[in-house]
Point group: C2
Chain length 428, copies 2
């Protein structure tokens, strides 16, 4: 008796799943003895179901799936935290197993839905919520569990990585890079979730929760995006032997965990430094395994569907064997968060300032006032009319709160700073 | 009731396992509800057990473990295919589950031991047999199963990768690089298994068997090592935009699979190209997921023990849940092997030849005779006394059999070739 699947969402990823089932259903049975059948396809758009040749399975009402006692697994691929949340909750309550690619849901209501799944003794899989097709959640929940994980650090947003790659390699400015990413379909018309680091924040919340066995939600993540990054910053970084990536970082420290998303300068020899374009990669450090990295396409129909269907097949394998879920929520600890103000790291700060005497001195006074020690200051990119220069500061290791105070004071200096400063933390 | 472990082998990896259990036993229970206990430690060397503080568990006779009805999982870490094979077979026959790091065993007797495990309904895990701590076997057996895999390609031998990195970056010759690797403990006194590609051959046999659902043994793998590679080859490669890696390759083609190990020129932009030193990485291409790569430390106490203990914990999790093995042998197909002679690729060939008139013409005749089209020929590295030059040929795509014939004929040319030619296949 085949395991019956109800699919909700027939967009890019849902379409990919339908195609995988059509193409490989027979080999899943032959290679693994896993017998799955697509029973329902639900979306608001019958044309999408038609395009994939599954009109006969189509419904516009997800309740048809949840109310069908024959359905074993519900795949939720519509995203967001309103209807999607209802679908996941109602499916679990109805005794269905659930596979979702929904990062926002898992990073916001992860505790609620994981606990619901545990109490119903049903599976809730979400590999596709982070890193597209890259296996990362399963390795963290299985292969790597003999480790205490100290760091999870990733390039988990392909849009911004594409933009930064183009800005770095070809000197495009932010607006041009964004427009190009939009033209190519990598960025939404409203790019906020990508460029402001919110998409990455959801993903690192999910990874950190698993890696540290302690719940991290999207609201616990300090997120900064790439809007203030200019080609000048990327050029300056390269001259110093670094690249700039929008990193999602989660570190276990003595006093707790810190989880954040922001542009980061990485040494060019770091494994993440050569991850360019729309590729994603997640770097994990464990006390036994040392450094590992998981690399692949972070988005798109095929990669995301690979992850979703990997989960579906694993779930079907368990159902056929008649076994209860093996791994539910593993957030057994409550590790405190280290507030951002207490971060100690090195900083790259670029100020666009008036090109006049006294500016450097007055700025130096501010750094001194807050005891932020400057490693180097370099003047770069004098503009044509000579009225504006860029000053690039690199600090020694400093306390975030102090650096923030420096920035606040410097911005207030009379007739000095001409644009929003660019601040990039350095990960050595 | 804790799951009881019997460990055979207390060397580098076994010692790492003992330390992990000592350090993290409590957190395995708290985070995952997995309760394991080390009951026996077996080796020929009581001092190793003593060094890890487990003398009370020590035995020199592995039968003590196999005959103990309380033991649930046997860890085999002694390597080789004689006693190790007996241990694995006898343990399975006695109804124990087995975790091994033994690549030679799995690449040689994989069919036998997997079938035995299946027939006994016991687990046989072997993540640590390939890529040290890098999760790769579990992703191939779980996360990626929705894909048809077309390529598995990896740097799976840290010793040779270290040597090639030193030769490439610092101009060391082969002998110096080998001696250094031996001094640092990366290479054995007898380096054959590493430098001749046999270690890599065992590993790619294991990966290909899983990826293609068709048994590949070490004897099916064409293996060439790095003995003929010189710094000159690495320099020439770099000038052409390539690096040279000892790659283990497995490709699915229309007419079957080809599985081989040899020095390979890779474009510098390839994800594997920046994997340097003792690091390993495995690059996998699937029809849905596209390109993925798994990176990390390929050897050493911590990494290998991380993989072994990941398997042990997964096995214990299954035993506690009272479930039979979920995934046994998946070699359900019998895909034919494409013989090496039928390979079509580009070739880099360097000949050290006498520096005299007529050499280039007579060699050109041989290439023409076998219809191997030459893309470029460059003279490099004229020696001090002017008696010898190196000729570097790069061919267009050619048939392996023809290239072999070219080499055979050219080596026989009178008073021409002065040393074993260096042949490197090009992977674009």
């Amino acid at each position: 008796m085949a395991i019956q699947i109800g699919l909700v969402g027939t967009g890019t990823v849902g379409g990919g799943c339908i195609e995988i089932i059509k193409q490989h259903k027979e080999s899943f049975l032959r290679h693994f003895g896993i017998d799955i059948e697509l029973k329902w396809v639900c979306s608001l758009n019958p044309d999408e179901a038609k395009a994939h040749g599954v009109s006969d399975l189509f419904t516009q009402d997800y309740h048809d799936i949840i109310n069908d006692p024959a359905v074993d697994i519900v795949i939720e691929l519509i995203g967001g935290v309103s209807i999607a949340r209802n679908i996941v909750v109602e499916a679990l309550q109805a005794g269905k197993n659930v596979v979702t690619a929904n990062k926002a849901l898992m990073a916001t209501y992860g505790k609620e839905v994981m606990e619901l799944a545990d109490s119903m003794k049903k599976e809730l899989f979400f590999e596709a919520s982070v890193g597209g097709g890259i296996p990362i959640i399963s390795p963290l929940k299985h292969s790597l569990i003999a480790n205490e994980i100290s760091t999870v650090m990733g390039i988990v947003n392909g849009t911004t990585n594409y933009m930064l790659t183009r800005m770095s390699e070809d000197g495009l400015d932010y607006d041009t890079a964004l427009r190009e990413a939009q033209d190519k379909g990598f960025a939404e018309a409203n790019p906020t979730a990508d460029v402001d680091g919110l998409d990455a924040a959801a993903k690192i919340a999910i990874l950190a929760s698993i890696a540290f066995n302690s719940r991290v939600t999207i609201d616990d993540v300090h997120a900064e995006g790439i809007r203030n990054i200019t080609p000048l910053d990327l050029e300056a970084a390269r001259d110093m032997g670094y690249c700039v990536k929008l990193l999602a970082l989660a570190h276990r420290r003595e006093d707790g965990v810190d989880v954040r998303v922001h542009p980061t300068m990485l040494p060019l020899a770091h494994p993440l430094a050569s991850v360019n374009g729309v590729f994603n990669a997640i770097y994990v450090v464990g006390d036994a395994v040392g450094e590992t990295m998981f690399f692949g396409e972070g988005a798109g129909s095929g990669p995301a569907a690979s992850a979703v269907m990997g989960d579906v097949l694993e779930c079907a394998r368990h159902l056929q064997a008649g076994i209860a879920p093996l791994v539910g929520c593993t957030c057994t600890d409550e590790v405190p968060f280290v507030p951002m103000e207490k971060l100690d790291t090195k900083y790259y700060i670029r100020f666009a300032v008036s090109d006049r005497a006294g500016v450097l001195a007055s700025m130096a006074n501010v750094f001194a006032k807050y005891d932020v020690s400057v490693h180097s200051v370099v003047q770069r990119g004098r503009q044509g009319d000579g009225s504006k220069v860029d000053l690039v500061y690199v600090t020694h290791t400093a306390r975030e709160a102090s650096v923030r105070a420096v920035l606040e004071d410097i911005v207030k200096l009379e007739d000095t700073v001409l644009a929003e400063p660019s601040l990039i933390r350095v990960e050595d």
